[in-house]
């Protein structure tokens, strides 16, 4: 009896504590907008994060202000909400990093099975390169 009560209690805690909402989505099957996808290079040191906040693809475009805009599609392959933080680092044509508020660390979250986009704009027209950092937040 005690074992059953304990199991019931544990199950109740598990149900209350876990955020397991996952996302369904519907979109246009014949998309009119064309994304300019770029080949990317990845360094993964947190395998768990790479599963929950996985990078699907990266595309770029020039904005009306003639600065580079980068958009990254993320996918949460798990069923649980994952909080994370991201930082875009920007580099000029000489490979020198440019540091200002556009390289801030931004907190975000992604629901279970959700696909979402994050984007950033380069700090000036001379920026030609970037790096995205993703870090898990509890």
């Amino acid at each position: 009896m005690k074992t059953k009560l304990a199991a019931l209690f544990a199950a109740a805690l598990a149900v209350a504590g876990c955020h397991t909402n996952s996302v369904n989505s519907v979109e246009n099957a014949q998309k009119s907008g064309q994304r300019y996808m770029i080949p990317d290079q990845r360094v993964i040191s947190d395998i768990s994060l790479s599963h929950k906040v996985s990078v699907v693809g990266v595309n770029t475009a020039m904005t009306a202000g003639n600065v580079l805009k980068v958009q990254v599609e993320l996918l949460n392959q798990s069923r649980k909400l994952q909080r994370f933080a991201y930082t875009f680092e920007w580099f000029d044509a000489n490979g020198m990093q440019i540091n200002n508020v556009t390289s801030a660390t931004i907190a975000d979250q992604i629901e279970g099975r959700e696909s979402k986009f994050i984007s950033a704009v380069a700090p000036n027209p001379a920026c030609t390169d970037f790096r995205l950092k993703l870090i898990k937040v509890n």
Binding site: V101, A104, I106
Partner: protein, 189 residues
């Protein structure tokens, strides 16, 4: 005192001395920052400035001047929160980023309530140099809203900005909401 008691004592002492950290540096606005539900943290200002700057640069609004770079003057940023905050925590980051972008410079001799740099203004007047009127002014408001459900507190800080040209028209508007939730006043990032 038996061995078991000594072990418990040792464990207790380790716990007391091990908990609590010495003062150390962390990355400003980084993942180790404290998140306060009932006040605006520095990472909130950084996030809002990031959103405003990125959107403003991407819009191209600052490029539509006859004599680039555009001259920007700071106007009123209303604090509609319950805290005393210095709105420069938001606007200075935007100004620095716009200057580094090459798209705008901020005038410090022309502003709401007088020049930001009175000495520069005096020198300008003594030199007889004409004051270039600003092409744009930046104004805005910071608003806070609270909600509570049981033990859970939620606060939303809305950072609203407008870029107005010489015709008095808002040629760019930005609105960034930052919502925080928790059961305690302050938690980790």
């Amino acid at each position: 005192m038996n061995t078991k008691s000594l072990l418990w004592l040792a464990a207790g002492l380790t716990l007391i001395t091990g908990c609590g950290t010495n003062a150390h540096y962390i990355q400003t606005g980084g993942t180790q920052s404290v998140v306060s539900v009932d006040q605006i943290n520095i990472q909130d200002f950084i996030s809002a400035a990031n959103a405003a700057t990125s959107d403003l640069l991407a819009s191209g609004a600052l490029d539509r001047v006859s004599n680039p770079p555009a001259v920007l003057a700071m106007s009123r940023i209303v604090n509609n929160t319950s805290q005393q905050i210095d709105t420069d925590l938001l606007t200075k980051k935007i100004r620095v980023a716009l200057l580094q972008s090459g798209k705008a410079v901020t005038t410090t001799t022309f502003g709401l309530g007088g020049p930001e740099d009175p000495l520069a203004r005096n020198i300008q007047q003594q030199e007889g140099k004409p004051t270039r009127l600003p092409d744009f002014t930046l104004s805005g408001k910071i608003i806070e809203t609270f909600a509570k459900a049981g033990n859970t507190k939620q606060s939303t800080y809305s950072f609203q900005l407008s870029l107005t040209d010489q015709r008095g028209l808002a040629v760019w508007e930005g609105d960034k909401d930052i919502t925080k939730q928790g059961t305690r006043s302050g938690v980790g990032f």
